[in-house]
């Protein structure tokens, strides 16, 4: 249970900045292309 037992709660400043940029870009892209992305994901998942 590595995931459950890991109690560390710290990030480097660089990681915090990268997470902010990635989440904002991903959310922006999802707002613009949301329905197309959902359809593509469902299509790929359906083929598996």
């Amino acid at each position: 249970m590595n995931f459950l037992t890991d109690n560390h709660a710290i990030e480097s400043t660089e990681v915090a900045l990268i997470i902010a940029v990635v989440v904002l870009v991903a959310y922006g892209a999802y707002q613009i292309l949301g329905s197309n992305i959902a359809a593509a994901v469902m299509d790929i998942a359906g083929k598996i």
Partner: protein, 167 residues
């Protein structure tokens, strides 16, 4: 819709996590595992058991050899995406992203568990926006002050409070 008393309880919980994080750079399992398991049980009862299954798969995958765990997580995620309700796809992707961030060592396990628990409670991807912005702002301030590490629970607590006040 989550009742107000539960929002307040969640903010108190996050405050307790923040205090531990600032003091010791860790959050005890009592404050991360117990809430996560509680949320998993609750979501199982409310019928979102596919999300519960995803988190259980990720927890179990974390014990596998490195090459296997990423593959299993990706495969499990894709299979679940084909069954899960369309409105939950962003949450599934967010949970996978949070776990992957922990997996590559970029996020502490306590932060990852708290973020996954919050995602499961609110089932709203917009929760992660203020948290990420607060983390980015805190990261910038810390970078300017030449600090290398930040307690991310501050961003989680402030971001969640902002989300609750503005929704």
């Amino acid at each position: 819709m989550i009742p107000l008393w539960m929002d307040i309880l969640i903010l108190i919980w996050l405050g307790a996590c923040l205090i531990h994080d600032v003091k010791s750079r860790t959050v005890p399992m009592l404050l991360t595992v117990i809430p996560l398991i509680g949320v998993l049980i609750w979501r199982g009862v409310t019928g979102d058991w596919l999300l519960v299954l995803l988190v259980v798969v990720l927890i179990l995958a974390s014990d596998l050899p490195k090459n296997w765990r990423v593959g299993l997580a990706a495969l499990g995620g894709l299979i679940l995406l084909s069954f899960v309700d369309r409105r939950l796809i962003p949450i599934v992707l967010a949970i996978l992203g949070i776990w992957a961030t922990w997996e590559i060592g970029a996020m502490g396990g306590a932060d990852a568990k708290i973020l996954i628990a919050l995602s499961l409670i609110y089932l709203d991807i917009r929760l992660l926006i203020p948290i990420s912005i607060m983390g980015g702002v805190h990261g910038l301030i810390a970078f300017w002050k030449k600090e290398k590490k930040i307690p991310y629970t501050l961003a989680i607590t402030a971001g969640t409070a902002m989300f609750l006040l503005t929704r």
